[in-house]
Symmetry: C3
Subunit: 346 residues, 3 copies
């Protein structure tokens, strides 16, 4: 709970849109007021429960269009048509929001702990030296199943052979050179030398020749995946530091639980070359969607299988080490949050 989650891309709030989105099981309405500030409120009028997202924005305020109650950006009821006296406590819950690098972050837990300095910076998303195309996808699966998926490069070979992976060889030949456990996640680095270009890269870089490929993936709690990918001409010693003519990508992925069994997925895949050619970002976006749909098919199936038999126990394999660490890290944070609540509850 006490974490910043991505609630939306900034472009989802254009033209005064009242965005209705469920986050951590809570229906929320999100909008940008006339002042430019982004507002997030419970999407439920405190009078009779009508959805505020069916209402009307007025400046930074919002009016329920059932009986006309009006709420300000802090959620306080400031008008009841036909009634002069407004109970001072009447209102709906508001949530802290912060806008950074085109992302709208929301804090669903205790507002007193909502410290914006804890938000991870992803400067690539607003850096003119990088170009991408922000996008969104919805998953009918618990977000941890998606995190698991990203924690394991082995699936690249089998799920994404023809899209993101390139060959099954990747699963057998390349092994992580370093798994670094961090307090808030992990870092995995993996080199695959002298390999064919994987399909998504080949589509935007048609030149002949093998490549040396490096993936550095970081996973942060609660569900942020960040991967640096580098392709250099094979054999020039990229793994020794020679990055001449290398082409690089930055994969920024943000997972926000919608419910226990569904997830919002915000992502952008950026490149650092030929920035004046708009077709590259479009092609990469299309390739990623192809690949993500392959994941989605597997993972949503997995969710159905797990739902069908809650007694099923997964079996770990060696490649699961990073995800096991990540789940432990997350478990510790959840325990700490619960422990902090104890005195209040006792």
């Amino acid at each position: 709970m006490n974490c910043w989650y991505v609630a939306a891309w900034d472009h989802e709030l254009i033209d005064g849109k009242l965005l209705s989105r469920t986050i951590l099981e809570k229906p929320v309405v999100i909008y940008r007021g006339d002042s430019g500030a982004v507002v997030a409120l419970d999407n439920r009028c405190c009078h009779r429960g009508a959805r505020l997202s069916n209402g009307r924005r007025e400046g930074d305020d919002i009016r329920c269009m059932y009986h006309g109650l009006k709420f300000n950006a802090a959620g306080k009821c400031i008008q009841i048509p036909g009634q002069d006296n407004i109970p001072p406590k009447l209102g709906v819950r508001s949530y802290p929001v912060v806008e950074r690098q085109h992302l709208i972050w929301i804090w669903m837990g205790d507002p007193a702990q909502a410290d914006p300095s804890k938000i991870l910076e992803f400067n690539y998303l607003s850096d003119p030296k990088w170009r991408g195309k922000p996008d969104y996808m919805h998953y009918k699966a618990n977000y941890l199943l998606i995190v698991d998926n990203l924690s394991d490069f082995a699936h690249l070979a089998f799920v994404h052979t023809k899209t993101l992976g390139g060959s099954e060889e990747y699963a057998y030949k390349s092994k992580p050179t370093a798994i670094e456990r961090m307090d808030d996640g992990f870092r995995v680095e993996r080199w695959h030398l002298n390999s064919d270009k994987p399909p998504f890269h080949k589509k935007v870089d048609r030149a002949e020749g093998k490549v040396d490929r490096r993936n550095i993936a970081r996973m942060y709690v609660p569900g942020i995946f960040f991967m640096e990918t580098l392709f250099a001409p094979a054999g020039q010693g990229a793994d020794k530091g020679n990055l001449q003519n290398a082409k690089q990508y930055r994969n920024c992925q943000f997972f926000t639980p919608e419910t226990k069994s569904s997830t919002h997925f915000f992502w952008d895949y950026l490149h650092d070359y030929d920035l004046n050619d708009p077709t590259i970002a479009l092609s990469l976006n299309k390739s990623m969607i192809e690949g993500f749909l392959e994941d989605k098919f597997i993972i949503e199936g997995q969710q159905e299988v797990l739902d069908a038999d809650p007694n099923f126990k997964m079996n770990a394999i060696v490649a699961d080490a990073p995800l096991a660490h990540f789940r432990r890290t997350l478990g510790k944070l959840i325990d700490a949050e619960r422990a902090a609540l104890q005195p209040a509850a006792a």
Copy 2:
């Protein structure tokens, strides 16, 4: 339970139709026999549970088309093909029904208490001085949410601004002149002087000029809404009794719970002028549907919101006084019905 509910319009039973309709959670089959009598039976063969509405009407009787068992209008099994001896108690439950002013009323509770004199008369529905078009709509919402909606004129201004209401001004300027609490419901009267014609009325009365508008609404348990609406030329003193050139409407609405979260809605909107012009009733019918769909959108959303969080408590505003009284009245009747059952249960 011990109430008369509207089960159908008479025109729903033409051509020997076997109408399958769930009322208060009970699947019922309703039909008009050759004698003209309307029959209502449990829609479930007592043999193996097949639906009688998939069967065949034979005179006033009905035959299950699975194994051919035949039942009379009282629900008694009167034939089993291939079997001579019929157990005297074999049969299905039948329900008391009464036909009045084109409405089929049904009694789902204790048959011994089914007193037809308790049925409210709506003579407008069969009076040649009034013209309308009976209609039906289905709601995915508990019927009390709809009753709440009707109990509060304030929503006219916001939900129906462009259809039934006319302007948001109505919410701020007009206040109920009288709320009369009755034993079986309430009565609210509201004047709006010197106002623009609301869109639904303007469509059938295009003359220029302001109007004085009076709404008298009555709500009766369990879910009957009846509203008299009057439009008189502004300023002639309609509120003092001068009804010259007034045009009047009668809004008859009947809500019958289908399940805990769905409702049958029977309605007719009648007018008292230009009775030879069939387009007026059609236009009013169309306007009402537009307005009802606005309500339906809000109320079905409200039901989803309430389902999602059973702990949500609504907050009353001043305008809720009539609905609070209505819910109390209904609560008293339910308590009385439960108390009456106690001796039998003890």
Copy 3:
């Protein structure tokens, strides 16, 4: 559980198809390996629960296409990409399967008791003197509701008047001449003398004249229905043994529970005359589908009615004798199976 069930027709496994099918609540993947053997495994990778039916067949083995784990026909994990050491017990459950007369039989219970000699032979299905067209239908209903349906010829008259039955007279005039209770089911014989040809037969035998019709139906546990039907020219004494110019049918039906409320239905309707005319099998297949859809409509409705009120008790009529015997027989077998499990559990 300890019974052979039909899992598939052999033609469902052509072209290396990985058939995903739930049987007795268990998701199973079924395929024919390169060796010709049919394999049935739990359709759930033991690693992270991905569906094996989304994987890839390799010889007689199957590979999960999430992280590449490979399983042999016995379900044992025999390869993990990027990992040399495979835990010897790692694997998924495999099920005994037997192929007979184009049917794939599966044993879902204790594998030690899977005795292929207990499989009933249906030689008509592979006998060149009979011709048919194997087919499949899915029911949203518990399989016992379908068995009940088949146990009672009375429904032929009402449900199938215009397709398989022919006239309602059948229900009143014809009575079973013999109901024979067997240890594993029952046998019913029924003659209907000097009757009109029923519609399905009339379509393939257009000659004028009445027929003597005999049905001999057998029902075996857990859900196998087999019916021999004979049409002979009326009055020649077919019931005394003169079968000259008789035309015969063999109706083979196999019901396998998918879940508690859904059923797989495998069937073939074979004839013994004019075997070089392919249109007869097609016409009969089409007639049966028409009839089965009539059953399906009634039975799925019955399932909905029963689901809606678990307290409903069915009432037996005289014609229910065979199905009552069948349910008793099945009950005894289930009790015996449970008793056999007791020592192990105690």
